[in-house]
């Protein structure tokens, strides 16, 4: 039996207009969503299971987050993950920033418990964008890894993942990675499915285990890193744009005049 562990985060989304309270955005302006990159990681894992045989691949998700994010976890289960783990307790609740080191320590403990063959994480989370947890985790658990993967071809017999890493400037690096490995998954690698009604119904019955730090053999020292979030502000606007005001007819006509001046549409 092969096991694929997928890291799934519920990210905070912010409305266009918002206010900052101390070092966080005022909760009134926050929403929550499945991290865009993780959606692709879940899909990739489910497609692996479908290709190899759903009875032969176990897809497990792991989330660090409070009870509120179970809705998001159920979404992952509805899309085809088999079961889920959620790690949370008061220590984590009180921490103002879970840095890469803290996430690594927690996920490391989960990987040791679960012993997966493959871990898929997103390239980044859309809210704090550290882009580092997957690779840090790989090193911690002594797995191989590849960052920013936009194509994955698994050779289970050969214990190898042939991947494409998306570099800058439209260049892709073709790399063979031996398993077990952590791959950070880039958007566009597949087309994430919508959960079917049947999937959503089934998700309610799937196992979702909650673990506290102590259950994982960890204590509060995991959150006592050297990193502190000390300020948050709206960046000083550098904009010196000419803003056209008024209704769409008016603004379009003003913009059209500028475009014509520049020789556009002539």
């Amino acid at each position: 039996m092969m096991k694929v562990l997928v890291t799934v985060k519920e990210v905070a989304t912010v409305e266009d207009e918002f206010e900052i309270e101390g070092t966080a955005i005022d909760e009134r302006y926050l929403g929550a969503d499945l991290n865009e990159w993780d959606d692709y990681a879940i899909e990739e894992a489910v497609q692996i299971a479908e290709a190899i045989g759903e009875d032969e691949v176990d897809v497990v998700t792991v989330t660090i987050g409070p009870e509120d994010c179970e809705q998001t976890i159920r979404q992952a289960l509805a899309k085809g993950a088999d079961r889920a783990i959620r790690v949370w307790d008061d220590t984590l609740e009180d921490a103002d920033l879970l840095d890469v080191g803290a996430k690594t320590a927690i996920l490391e403990a989960v990987v040791e418990d679960e012993d997966p063959d493959l871990v898929l994480s997103g390239v980044q989370s859309g809210d704090d964008s550290f882009m580092a947890t997957g690779v840090s985790l790989a090193d911690a658990v002594d797995f191989q890894w590849a960052a920013v993967v936009n194509s994955l071809d698994l050779d289970v017999e050969g214990d190898t993942a042939s991947v494409r890493r998306e570099l800058e400037g439209g260049v892709e690096e073709l790399t063979d990675v031996s398993l077990p490995a952590v791959l950070t998954i880039q958007t566009g690698i597949n087309e994430p499915r919508y959960a079917s009604l049947r999937g959503i119904r089934m998700a309610q019955r799937k196992e979702l285990t909650v673990q506290r730090l102590a259950d994982l053999g960890l204590d509060s020292s995991v959150v006592e890193g050297d990193l502190r979030l000390t300020g948050m502000s709206v960046p000083e606007s550098e904009s010196d744009a000419t803003v056209f005001a008024g209704g769409p007819e008016e603004t379009a006509s003003e913009l059209a005049a500028i475009l014509r001046e520049k020789g556009v549409g002539q």
Partner: protein
């Protein structure tokens, strides 16, 4: 333990710009700590690279002559050994796709706190104060690192590239690379297909982002492009969704474009997008969010619904 070690970035025989930006960022930090700035260049034609990296402000360049192309296992091992030798207070790496393929592993191995994608760095006594964005650039945060040492990645194009010729010593560093620990191998490179259109050639680009919501709404954008005699390009989510081919994507992992006029419609202006279009002569943004980061670089803006503005604009040109 006041020194700074910065890792140069190169690919397929060329040093990347961020390497020189790392020199500037590293020099500022070393001035603040009163230490030296060390650079390391790993794999490839290291001696030629070292000559180029010898810019004003660099004290030592360490060369690790092992292999041709980037391999994260080689980098990780070499950097861990260099840190042992140099004992830097700050380890600097680029926030590039390759930088992010080794910096987190090095930080983990050396138990260093890591802060990524920084846009500003200050030293305040014993504390490193890093500025970085969150929520796609909607807010800026300050993060303080209070430990004795730290690993930091810097965002490209935030620091000026160092210039001038320095007086650095160039030292070959004899890293011991454990080949059994190399678990991945590069088998090749591929350029993403050119296809039918080269958006890099266009004088006018009508560029569409996630604000368009549905594939069928793209028709509106094509109509506008036709009316303007422009070419259609897009941000990444449109290509990810398969609504436009990959060769239409503007940005870090797509094309870098410099048209006369770039009209961004329903595009927020994420750093990876802006990297591909900030050199455009005139930038127009149509976006309901007046605070979207794209506004920072726009020359003309309409803070309104694209579904109202675009039809009106099409009307203007018919």
């Amino acid at each position: 333990m006041t020194d700074v070690l910065a890792i140069a970035d190169h690919r397929r025989g060329e040093l990347r710009d961020v390497s020189y930006e790392l020199v500037s960022a590293g020099r500022d930090l070393a001035d603040a700590t009163g230490g030296d700035l060390h650079l390391a260049v790993i794999s490839g034609t290291v001696d030629a690279f070292a000559e180029k990296l010898n810019r004003e402000g660099v004290d030592v360049v360490h060369t690790v002559d092992y292999g041709e192309e980037f391999n994260h296992d080689v980098y990780t091992q070499a950097i861990v050994q260099l840190c042992d030798e140099v004992s830097p207070q700050f380890l600097l790496a680029p926030n590039s796709v390759n930088g992010l393929d080794y910096a987190p592993a090095v930080a983990n191995r050396l138990d260093l706190p890591l802060v990524t994608d920084t846009v500003d760095l200050e030293v305040d006594g014993d504390t490193l104060v890093a500025t970085r964005e969150m929520y796609g650039g909607k807010v800026e945060t300050t993060v303080e690192l209070t430990g004795e040492r730290a690993a930091v990645t810097i965002r490209g194009a935030e620091w000026p590239g160092a210039s001038g010729t320095g007086e650095a010593t160039i030292e070959a560093f004899d890293a011991t690379i454990d080949e059994d620990a190399i678990g991945s191998s590069v088998t090749g490179f591929e350029e993403v297909a050119g296809g039918d259109v080269d958006i890099g050639d266009a004088d006018v680009l009508v560029s569409v982002g996630r604000g368009i919501e549905e594939e069928e709404n793209l028709e509106l954008i094509h109509e506008l492009a036709d009316a303007l005699g422009a070419t259609v390009s897009s941000s990444r989510p449109i290509v990810d969704a398969g609504w436009l081919p990959k060769n239409r994507q503007v940005g870090q992992s797509g094309k870098v474009v410099t048209p006369d006029v770039y009209i961004a419609i329903g595009i927020s202006g994420a750093v990876q997008h802006v990297a591909g279009m900030k050199g455009s002569d005139t930038i127009v943004a149509i976006n309901t969010d007046p605070n979207a980061p794209i506004m920072d670089i726009a020359d003309y803006a309409i803070h309104d619904d694209l579904f109202d503005v675009v039809p009106a604009l099409i009307g203007e040109f018919q």
